[in-house]
């Protein structure tokens, strides 16, 4: 085991694993450090949506956020390309299915919202098509009669989160990256150049020298950033998901709703996964703060509400058996956009966390790897400007 690495990645989720692979491939010596086991957090718990249409949560709060979301569309268009080649790049079956996504509307208000969204997307270069109810049911006969319109984007779909991170990790390992699980980071000291990173495994401590550090620890990222004396406005979010028993192929598309919380798809195994941002309840740790490591409590109203919307949009769901509800923790930032890039006051310290990291994860990883390796840096900086840590630098103005 070496004591010097070009890059230490903290967190073996999707982004950490993907960035590790990119950098190792480009010749860097990489160590990935994971406190639990790989893919344990949101990366493995999410439902695998590949969504590129502007998300409902950005439309909820009026125009301002919708503008930011439109800027994300540029990243989405990159993600469409990145996902197209991923299975080949990793020589792995990630169960990527892209038969299109439908964002449905039922009421006149929702239709209006949908129309506005489609217009924005068009202006940003995303080819969403507005369909009326009948046209929607023509390509998706499983949709309810109450669906009055739908935004259809051919490139949307889903992949298997349980396969993606492990595939990145295997490829990273083939390129020489090292993975240590059950290993916590207990200190980060800037030593210019580089960082001393203290690790703890089985009660034994060890310090490694890192040329660069990437914090990709999802909801745990703020705690890790604390070790480097940095504030990160990333907050844990507890969500709830439902899975039906395996059923015959019925829903080939990713189905969302413009006015209500809903995201549905049928996994490669046949289970219908039903989610859409329904809250679960975060648990508090011994210190009184939210603990993202404790399994959130399910909320009955979320389960019922989610399943009600699902059955309204896809009536066949009512006859299926619910197999399992689970909760997981993801992360959200102060302005709902992820934080991806270099921390201005600590050059060499990078962050990639804060949500949307399944769909956009591989793209974030590709771009931040360029920043880390200083290859085509300007282009990467430009693409990541909308999610740059610099926008929160004011929070660290008094951090010594």
């Amino acid at each position: 085991m070496s004591l010097r690495y070009d890059l230490v990645v903290i967190g073996a989720g999707l982004i950490g694993a993907a960035t590790a692979w990119r950098c190792a491939r480009a010749g860097a010596s990489v160590l990935i450090v994971e406190a639990g086991h790989a893919n344990a957090g949101a990366s493995g718990q999410n439902a695998g949506s590949l969504h590129f249409q502007i998300e409902r949560r950005f439309l909820e709060n009026g125009d301002r956020l919708a503008e930011e979301a439109a800027r994300i569309v540029t990243l989405s268009r990159m993600a469409i390309d990145d996902w197209a080649s991923l299975e080949d790049d990793l020589a792995a079956d990630l169960h990527v299915r892209r038969d299109g996504g439908l964002m449905v509307a039922e009421t006149p208000d929702e239709i209006a919202l949908l129309e506005a969204k489609v217009k924005r997307e068009g202006a940003a270069g995303l080819g969403t098509i507005l369909l009326d109810g009948d046209a929607a049911r023509h390509i998706a006969p499983y949709l309810a009669g109450s669906v009055a319109a739908a935004g259809f984007l051919r490139e949307e779909g889903h992949a298997d989160p349980r396969a993606v991170t492990p595939a990145f990790l295997r490829s990273a390992s083939l390129q020489g990256a090292e993975l240590r699980t059950a290993t916590r980071v207990t200190d980060i000291q800037a030593v210019r150049p580089g960082f001393d990173v203290e690790l703890r495994h089985d009660e034994r401590a060890q310090t490694v020298r890192a040329g660069r550090v990437l914090i990709a620890a999802g909801a745990w990222s703020p705690r890790v950033a604390t070790l480097a004396n940095i504030h990160l406005p990333i907050f844990p979010v507890a969500l709830q998901m439902n899975a039906t028993e395996r059923v015959r192929p019925l829903v080939p598309h990713l189905v969302q709703h413009v006015g209500r919380r809903l995201s549905m798809k049928q996994s490669h195994a046949g289970n219908i996964l039903i989610g859409g941002g329904w809250p679960a309840k975060l648990r508090r740790g011994a210190d009184g703060g939210f603990d993202p490591g404790l399994r959130p409590e399910p909320i009955e109203a979320s389960r019922v509400g989610n399943l009600q919307v699902a059955t309204m949009v896809v009536p066949a769901v009512a006859e299926m058996n619910l197999l399992r509800c689970w909760t997981g923790v993801t992360a959200i930032t102060a302005d709902q956009l992820p934080i991806v890039g270099e921390i201005p006051r600590l050059p060499g310290l990078f962050v990639a966390a804060g949500g949307s990291a399944f769909t956009l994860g591989p793209s974030f990883a590709r771009l931040i790897a360029r920043q880390i390796m200083d290859q085509d840096r300007a282009e990467a900086d430009d693409a990541l400007a909308v999610v740059a840590p610099a926008r929160f630098e004011h929070l660290n103005g008094f951090m010594g």
């Binding site: 028993e245 395996r246 059923v247 015959r248 046949g270 009512a318 006859e319 299926m320 058996n321």
Partner: protein, 100 residues
């Protein structure tokens, strides 16, 4: 009637059910599992590899015996055969490689 104990046992009313299109006799109070196990081939479903599978625990915990059930009224339901009493006119289908 294969397997049914008759010594010291009186059964309830005879009724008629359909299993995969086949009409079968059954008795009030019997579970769907009993009726299927009385047949020569005790298969309840096919697994994801297409192999036939049968009932295992007979008490609702192993989930091997899920079948599709339609009664006179109501939606088609996927129920555990070992816990479901038969009723007259019940239409039962064993399931393919998917759970449904």
């Amino acid at each position: 009637m294969n397997g049914r104990i008759t010594h010291h046992v009186t059964r309830g009313a005879k009724l008629s059910i359909t299993l995969d299109g086949r009409t079968l006799d059954a008795f009030e109070g019997e579970t769907i599992a009993t009726v299927i196990m009385a047949l020569s081939s005790p298969a309840f479903r096919q697994d994801s590899r297409g192999d036939p599978r049968g009932l295992f625990c007979n008490m609702g915990t192993c989930s091997e015996c899920f079948v599709s059930v339609r009664r006179i009224s109501g939606p088609v339901r996927r129920l555990r055969a070992c816990l479901t009493p038969v009723s007259d006119g019940m239409v039962i289908e064993t399931t393919g490689g998917y759970d449904v």
